[in-house]
Amino acid sequence: MTPISASPYRRAYRPADRRLVGGVATGLADHLGVGVLYVRLAFVVATWLSGVGIIAYLLLWRFLPLRQPELTPGLEAATRQGLRTNPNRPGSAEILQTLAIGMVGVGVLLFLQVTGRGISDALVGPALVAVIGLTVIWRQFDDVAWRRWMRQTSGIGFAVRIAAGGVLIALAALYFLTQERGWGAMVDLAAALGIALIGLALILGPWITKLLGDLTEERRALVRSQERADVAAHLHDSVLQTLALLQKNAGDQAAVATLARRQERELRAWLYGTDEQAGDSLVAALRASAADVEDAHQVPVEVIAVGDAALDPDVSAVAKAAREAMINAAKHAKVDRIDVYAEANKETVQVFVRDRGVGFNVDKIAEDRMGVRGSIVDRVERHGGTVTIRSKRGQGTEVAMTVPVRDADHVFEETSS
């Protein structure tokens, strides 16, 4: 039931809920579709080549956006309140394994060093200090801190940034003034301008980013308040109304049960489900039918679905036939629940509607029960599918419907002709 993403570009990102350090390896592994283990190994191996791995890791850490998982309101709240363990968080074994790979990496690095193939000895100390320093700074500058520093208009960060900007502009001016005019002048001018621009950006940057930031913040605040209003409206329209109705109908068992079930279904879909519409897919259509049957006949209908399919004419015929089967079961079977199971894969779509009610004699339906013949069996068979109805008196009925999924080319021919 994963919705198909509409964006034509896949962007790499760092998954916030699954990262060990920066989430770079996990994000890359997702993007490239390989095991995260191989990505980590690649980084370690690349580090042996003059530290390319570490540099690549740091750069990716800086430039890949962090992405929080998108959850439904119910799950998000449960996650935030600590009612739910993050199921994706890396286990201790994964941490150990990564440590192990890292150790092996460091070992090989040391070996290279000892055999004199690494960085020259005089540089090792400073390089190590530089790497550690860079890492510390980098860690602090991760996303939020970096943005804050770039936006400060007071304090030490502000002074440092202004000083750096001023020095750069001064350097640019000096550079430009001390150069002799000649063919190289254009290049020099460009270089000087570039340096001056960087300086200016450092000085003016905060006001610009602040402006942009304020805009985003405003927009976000607006969205937040709208969301809150939507939640309030939703609770008012659904839960409060239902509770009021329940109080009025407290004496009427059947009405109370129906109201409660309808409210449960709505709230559940809103909290944990997706915003699917009945026109979207087989599962959405089945759920909508089940809801209607529950409301009209006061029989709970449980829909269980594996996979999903788009509602092309064939699938939609099955969905409609399943609806008929549910209505029949609710009307005639005298049961207190109906089970609907749907399974869709690349080759076939199958739907089973089952009750444990009174049952009937299947051989007799051909002549005298047009509902079953016309709206279930014929409808599915017209679309190249099959219907099997099994029923025994006292043991209930199961209607099994199957249609093959046509390949995309076939559908295309049909629509274009």
Binding site: T2, N88, E94, Q97, Y272, I304, Y341, F352, R354, E398
Partner: protein
């Protein structure tokens, strides 16, 4: 046969009371707990046979309870009992070591039957869980770190899961497939085992094979 000793772990007092009212008698309720910390404490103390475990709870949820107890107390059986509709949560708790999953609108007798089954060492798949499992093995649900072994269900196991998802009871599955109930239970248990073949074991094996740890 002695009465089964059962614990109820759920953060809603109303719900605990309801469950207690429905099943107390046929089984003995030896403990109740409302969050991860108190649950771990009281479960270690009372050592019940079966723990009815909510999925969402303060302190990290049912998953955290299993994580802390499962390895040290392998005899304690966990049965997840939840209103959560999120496949990832439910599959996660089963993968961590729970022996089954039932929804909170289950009737008293059905719950007792599930408790008996879990206590006897069998797995309990509600139709909904069977649906989740089939989805997970088909790759439709995203489960963290899917193993190589994860997408292998035999045709027979798939058939059994499908029938359970369709609402068949174990004995009806047996009748439908012309096998004994014992065989159905074996298939179901082996599906559970495959589901629980967690990346933890896989990773340890990987590292061992390469003499990394």
């Amino acid at each position: 046969m002695t009465t089964l000793r059962v614990a109820i772990v759920d953060d809603h007092a109303m719900f605990r009371r309801g469950v207690r009212a429905e099943i107390d008698g046929p089984v003995e309720i030896v403990a109740e707990a409302e969050d991860v910390e108190s649950a771990v404490e009281v479960l270690v103390e009372t050592k019940p046979d079966v723990v009815l475990l909510d999925v969402h709870m303060p302190g990290g949820g049912g998953l955290e309870v299993i994580r802390r107890l499962h390895l040290r107390h392998p005899d304690m059986k966990f049965l997840a009992l939840s209103v959560s509709d999120a496949a990832e949560d439910v599959i996660g708790i089963i993968r961590a070591g729970a022996r089954g999953y039932v929804t909170k609108n289950i009737s008293g007798p059905e719950l007792l039957d599930a408790i008996d089954r879990v206590a006897a060492g069998d797995a309990v798949f509600s139709p909904r869980l069977a649906g989740f499992v089939l989805d997970a093995f088909a790759g439709t649900i995203e489960v963290a770190q899917i193993d190589e072994d994860f997408d292998r269900l035999t045709e027979r196991e798939r058939e059994v899961m499908r029938l359970i998802a369709r609402g068949y009871a174990y004995k009806e599955v047996a009748k439908e497939l012309f096998i004994s109930i014992k065989t159905v239970e074996t298939h179901v248990s082996s599906v559970l085992r495959k589901l629980q073949l967690s990346s933890r074991h896989e990773l340890t094996r990987w590292a061992n094979d390469r003499r990394l740890i």
